[in-house]
């Protein structure tokens, strides 16, 4: 139906093409506006420009992990244990880990300019770093050997355990910091006076990154299906070839 030329991209359809073009256009606008058109901030100066990629990345990263958790729960609850849930969870986590890395890097660059330090032991930052490491572990669990079923079950449980773990980490860091230091890190959002163009650029950043996220996840989960099928076929072919050799002694 909506087949795009299969030679260029086996995982593409008309829909993903449209999303891709739209994403490119919005991203181009965000880069142009964020770097050139928007004014500098009264307090933050030029460093506010990093926010136009940092905030949307963080938003997407957290969204991706919510999707992973929901899809994992879906896999465990659904009677048929549909592998679609599992592939979506995996694809979403992979994209989420990438955006989390972007968030941490751009955030520390911004912090260096604004606070004069790359890192602060602020609960939000610390929780984000732990989320990052936790999902790297999740992806490692997905790569463990075993059947597709095993992969789905193991990783779904790990994803749901992460949902329990992250609030505990956040709460313990909040408690830890509140006892240790009186003054907290300045609130990064509180002292930004945004004009209309700045707000619009930030908003289009969120839209553009969301489109990119959708495009990446669609392609990634389809790729996962292709890899699974191809691996399966490899095994089947090997069995057929072995049988053709005649009975074992």
């Amino acid at each position: 139906m909506s087949q795009v030329s299969q030679e260029t991209s086996p995982t593409g359809t008309r829909a993903t093409q449209a999303i891709g073009v739209l994403a490119l256009a919005v991203m181009a606008w965000v880069v142009a506006s964020g770097l050139l058109l928007t004014p500098q901030d009264v307090v933050q100066g030029e460093s506010v420009r990093i926010m136009y990629v940092h905030v949307p990345s963080a938003w997407i990263a957290y969204l991706a992990f919510v999707f992973t958790a929901v899809a994992s729960a879906g896999w465990l609850i659904s009677k048929k244990h549909s592998m679609g849930f599992d592939r979506f969870a995996g694809a979403s986590a992979e994209v989420g880990v990438m955006f989390m890395a972007i968030t941490l890097i751009t955030g520390s660059l911004w912090g260096r300019l604004t606070w004069g330090e790359f890192w602060q032991w602020d609960p939000r930052l610390t929780t984000t770093a732990f989320l990052f490491v936790t999902y790297i572990g999740y992806l490692a669990v997905r790569r463990l050997e075993g059947s597709v079923e095993q992969r789905a079950r193991r990783s779904a449980v790990v994803a749901l355990l992460a949902v329990l773990e992250i609030p505990l980490v956040h709460f313990s860091v909040v408690l830890w910091r509140s006892l240790h230091q009186g003054a907290t890190v300045l609130n990064p959002n509180g002292d930004v006076k945004m004009d209309d163009l700045m707000l619009f650029t930030l908003f289009s950043g969120v839209v553009g990154f969301t489109l990119v996220f959708i495009w990446l996840v669609l392609h990634r989960q389809r790729t996962m299906l292709l890899v699974d099928v191809a691996d399966n076929q490899g095994l089947d072919l090997a069995i057929v070839a072995r049988r053709a050799e005649g009975p074992a002694n």
């Binding site: 790990v158 773990e165 313990s172």
Partner: protein, 235 residues
């Protein structure tokens, strides 16, 4: 996971059977006493070399005790499941059709007992090596902290140990999965221990808030572990 046949074996019996099996293995092999304990002791001495300052050591003694415990936790969990997956011992348990959450609790209690033995030695080591003072009220806080933190560590240790049991490359995967999860335990147990030790002028009463956090952690992973453990090893 509710596929346990009616074997006529109560849950309590399974828990004690698995517990005594794990402890018997330890009594015969002496891995914790002969290998993990010396390792943890060495770590404590190494910390002293690295930090090289009596005041600093006294100040951070609580954290060092718990870090050494965490490192030992990885080794003990690894060892516990290496034996279980050898010769399909874990498979036999599954075939027996018993309640796997009982296996979870049995193994967790065994692990907790080993860890407590280890922590007692480590805390004594801190008192001797790092010159920590311990008051009576501090001791009460410390004992409570050890009990709460250790049961939490034992639950997550067995849960993630079961997850990686039998998988290739589990030696490296287990610390990666476990460290972020046990971070709240490290923070809370260290602060409570520091309060008990009076490090940096901390008051004993400051430590009790952290015991609450440890209790929540233990409850969360005790419940989720008993629910999830069966499905993780049941494949």
């Amino acid at each position: 996971m509710k596929n346990s046949l009616d074997t006529g074996v109560t849950k309590g019996k399974v828990v004690t059977a698995v517990l005594s099996k794990d402890l018997k293995i330890e009594m015969r092999s002496r891995v914790v006493t002969n290998q993990v304990l010396p390792f943890a002791g060495l770590v404590m001495v190494m910390f002293a070399f690295a930090l090289d300052n009596d005041d600093v050591l006294q100040r951070v003694a609580g954290g060092l005790v718990w870090l050494a415990t965490l490192f030992s936790l990885f080794i003990i969990v690894q060892r516990s499941f290496a034996i279980d997956t050898q010769d399909g011992a874990l498979d036999s348990l599954r075939v027996a059709g018993i309640d796997l959450s009982a296996v979870f609790f049995g193994k967790a209690i065994a692990l907790a007992l080993k860890l407590i033995a280890l922590e007692i030695v480590l805390i004594c080591g801190a008192v001797l090596l790092y010159r920590v003072d311990l008051t009576a009220s501090g001791l009460v806080l410390l004992v409570t902290c050890v009990l709460c933190a250790t049961s939490g560590l034992a639950f997550v240790g067995i849960l993630y140990g079961g997850l990686t049991a039998g998988a290739k490359g589990r030696e490296t995967l287990l610390p990666l999965l476990l460290l972020p999860v046990v971070a709240p335990v490290l923070i809370a147990a260290t602060r409570a221990t520091e309060a008990a030790f009076g490090s940096g002028g901390a008051q004993t009463s400051e430590g009790w808030a952290w015991i609450g956090l440890l209790t929540v952690f233990t409850a969360v992973f005790g419940v989720s572990g008993s629910l999830a453990f069966g499905s993780l090893i049941d494949e």
